[in-house]
């Protein structure tokens, strides 16, 4: 069992620090290797891999400027701190907030199971309508109209992409909507990234409080379809006062969403991310004893990742700081285009381009980038 946990941590580390690798894409890649049912060992491998990914995906968000959909809204605050030389502090916040979220999630497992059993598809649809309304209404003045326009554009885009024969539609869509715009806007920045210490400049009590708030939003995110970590973080941003509290919420949401997703899967069989879809295909249902084992895996993985995560990030950060930032970002862009081409050829590239145009428009219109989640939400609203 330990062997599978360690292997999961290893894979999760590789995917976590790799830019533009979404957890669903990760599941899809791993799924192609797992051809025969491997029993509970595969579940342990996949779960520890996905969990590790949630601890470390702050690294590309901070240093590469390529956010994944879950951390899309966190790009600006993370970058702001990175530009001040506090990039390692962002990673420290991610590691510690994720660890706390993991602990809080395990304590909240029982009330969550009771809550999850009362969830219905109708409630989910109502929540999506409310979220859409919330996304538009929280903008100011004419930006509400722009938000509505982007929401509808993204939604129509999502509906169209659904009908295209693509192997990895979500890769093109999310990297295009959220990742490439960020990197395009950072191409002019050729300052070298400075790396200072990783000490979290925030009182411990405050850190605990915001991590707990983030865990609660993560709980909500795992219940409602399309209610992503970014949206949960958006709600959380009303509670936060600065970049650090905001990031604490974002990273806690990300990890707790993943853990609550597992609990939801155990209680109702619903899958909220690609890793769980893969687990469901390989091994379902989970017994209470197996859930307890996965809880132990949660504690083990969280502790181990916290043990080496900082040192690894510091090492990689220092390596990156020596490279020209523009060239680095260009290299990442080339990597994304190549991946897009590899997955789905020219059609994939075209979808990536369209998503990028919508994402860039969103940034230029200065509205919340999470409005682009219309790509999933409109589909649910119309279903």
């Amino acid at each position: 069992m330990l062997k599978w946990v360690m292997l999961g941590i290893l894979f999760g580390t590789v995917t976590g620090i790799t830019p533009a690798l979404h957890v669903n894409t990760l599941a899809s890649i791993v799924g192609s290797f797992l051809t025969s049912p491997g029993g509970f060992s595969y579940v342990v491998l996949l779960y520890s891999m996905g969990l590790t990914h949630t601890f470390l995906d702050a690294f590309p968000s901070t240093f590469f400027g390529i956010p994944e959909e879950e951390t899309a809204i966190s790009v600006l605050p993370a970058h702001r701190l990175a530009l001040q030389g506090r990039g390692l502090e962002v990673i420290a916040i991610s590691l510690k907030a994720s660890l706390l979220a993991a602990i809080f999630s395990l304590f909240l497992a029982v009330p969550y199971v009771l809550l999850a059993r009362h969830y219905t598809a109708f409630l989910g649809k109502v929540a999506v309508f409310l979220l859409a309304f919330f996304l538009v209404i929280t903008e100011k003045g004419v930006k509400r109209l722009y938000a509505l326009l982007i929401f509808i554009l993204s939604g129509a885009f999502g509906l169209v992409v659904d009908k295209l024969p693509l192997r990895e539609p979500y890769f093109h869509v999310f990297v295009g909507l959220f990742g490439i715009p960020a990197i395009l806007f950072s191409l002019n920045n050729n300052r070298k990234i400075e790396l200072k210490d990783s000490e979290i400049q925030m009182p411990k009590k405050r850190f605990l409080k915001f991590s707990f708030i983030g865990t609660c939003f993560g709980m909500l995110a795992s219940l409602l379809p399309t209610f992503t970590s970014s949206q949960a973080a958006l709600l959380g941003s009303f509670f936060s006062k600065d970049e650090r509290t905001f990031l604490t919420i974002v990273f806690s949401v990300n990890t707790s969403n993943f853990i609550f997703g597992l609990i939801n899967f155990y209680a109702t069989g619903k899958t909220r991310n690609g890793i769980l879809v893969l687990i469901k295909d390989l091994y379902y249902p989970l017994s209470p004893e197996e859930l307890v084992i996965l809880f132990l895996v949660t504690i083990m993985t969280s502790s181990i990742v916290n043990f080496y995560g900082m040192a690894l990030s510091e090492m990689l950060g220092r390596a990156i700081s020596k490279i020209n930032y523009t060239k680095l970002n260009l290299a990442v862009l080339v990597f994304i285009w190549a991946a897009s081409l590899y997955f789905d050829g020219l059609l994939g590239l075209m979808v990536l381009l369209t998503a990028t145009i919508i994402g860039v428009s969103t940034t230029l219109l200065k509205i919340k980038r999470t409005t682009c989640m219309g790509v999933l939400m409109l589909k649910i609203m119309l279903s």
Binding site: G141, L153, V160, V351, I357, L364, L365
Partner: protein
């Protein structure tokens, strides 16, 4: 107020054009392909029967291939799905369009048999074929079902009821209607023309004379035999007709008040040639009975002794040939021959009668003993005499 710059307008316009372009590609360039030629991400067109559905998970089967959908579909309905193949090995599909279609668009199997239900629902051909659902037809009814075999079940998409079987077929359900003429296991039912045996479920009882409808699996032995698997397949719908004794036919209840002319395992009666079973009475008793008529006998349903033979009058002065009677008097003399046959002269002071005492009777009264006997008047060397059928029909000095 934030105004849109030229770049923003251009970008929005380009994104609209791009979406339209993708839409056109999606609508025209990507015609759905058959499942066997599809790759991951391909648009497929699949028509099949929903053979599994739970929560938001369904499986469609077309007789050759299955696809997995993360949608809630209705079991045993046929659907056409246009969707994207997510996994080539598991055939999981993200449905873009799901339409319920008439079943005749599929190449379905059809089987004819009889519908049967116990713990599950089956079609008997007479092989047992487990059905995916119970049909809205009478148990045992002949039915033609259309559907597909998947796993261990036949998934019924449609069916045509064809009524109950009119003649019994070995191993197939058969329904009978008749009168219970024997209620020990197996019970025997008279359906108006033949006797049918039936093995009933545990603790299911029927009364003699009940008019019943029974559904069971037929076995064609020398007698048609039904095996009934559920108490609900046994329905009492009435009672057999009651008629005066002598006018009954098989399956009717005979009623009469008659005198017992012969006792033993069965009773002989002076009103019918048929034996009456299932009741015990003494020779000479007058009984009232309701008995079910079987092929060659009657069987008691409700019988009582109306006048015990002890209450019969002394017939010593009124001999009547052919009727069971009682005599009572004092033994005047007894004569026993060498061969063991004896004669006793019994008198009540006014009349006398010779009582035959065959060796088999084993009774030799003494002179002056009081004798009470039940039997028939007969003759001995052309003189009137009294014949006693058995040892139980004679009492000496009040001791029987």
């Amino acid at each position: 107020m934030i105004k849109l710059t030229k770049l923003e307008i251009v970008l929005i316009a380009v994104s609209i054009v791009s979406i339209l372009l993708l839409y056109l590609i999606g609508a025209e360039a990507t015609t759905p392909v058959p499942l066997e030629r599809a790759e991951r991400g391909s648009l497929i067109n699949f028509t099949g029967v929903c053979v599994y559905s739970q929560n938001d998970f369904s499986v469609l089967y077309d007789g050759k291939d299955t696809i997995v959908l993360y949608d809630a579909l209705k079991m045993d309905k046929s659907y056409r799905v246009v969707g994207k193949l997510l996994d080539e090995s598991k055939h999981s599909v993200e449905a873009l369009r799901i339409d319920e279609v008439p079943y005749n668009t599929l190449n379905l199997d059809s089987i004819e048999g009889a519908f049967w239900s116990d713990s599950s629902c089956y079609l008997l051909t007479p092989q047992r074929i487990k059905l995916s659902k119970c049909l809205n037809v009478t148990k045992g009814e002949k039915v033609k079902v259309y559907g597909l075999f998947y796993g261990e079940r036949f998934h019924v998409v449609d069916y045509i009821p064809k009524g109950l079987l009119k003649i019994p077929i070995n191993g197939m359900p058969f329904k009978i209607r008749g009168i219970v003429i024997r209620n020990t296991s197996p019970i025997t039912i008279w359906n108006g023309s033949e006797e049918i045996n039936a093995y009933l479920p545990y603790k299911t009882k029927l009364e003699l004379g009940d008019e019943v409808e029974i559904m069971g699996i037929a076995r064609l032995y020398s007698t048609l035999t039904l095996y009934v698997n559920s108490p609900s397949d046994v329905k009492v719908i009435g009672k057999a007709k009651t008629v005066p004794v002598g006018k009954e036919t098989i399956g009717e209840i005979a009623h009469g008040v008659c005198q017992v002319t012969k006792d033993g395992i069965s009773l002989g009666l002076n009103c019918t040639e048929l034996k009456l079973y299932g009741f015990s009475a003494n020779f000479g008793d007058i009984i009232e009975f309701y008995g079910i008529r079987r092929r060659n006998s009657l069987y008691c349903i409700e019988c009582t002794v109306k006048i015990p033979r002890d209450e019969l009058p002394n017939s010593i002065c009124n001999p009547d040939f052919g009727t069971p009677l009682k005599i009572h008097g004092k033994v005047e003399w007894v004569k026993v021959y060498k061969n063991g046959f004896g004669l006793a002269n019994v008198t009540n002071e006014e009349c006398w009668i010779l009582v035959k005492l065959p060796k088999s009777l084993g009774v030799y009264p003494e002179v002056n003993e009081t004798l009470t006997a039940f039997g028939f008047y007969t003759t001995y060397r052309e003189a009137p005499a009294f014949e006693i059928p058995s040892r139980d029909d004679i009492c000496l000095n009040g001791s029987c």
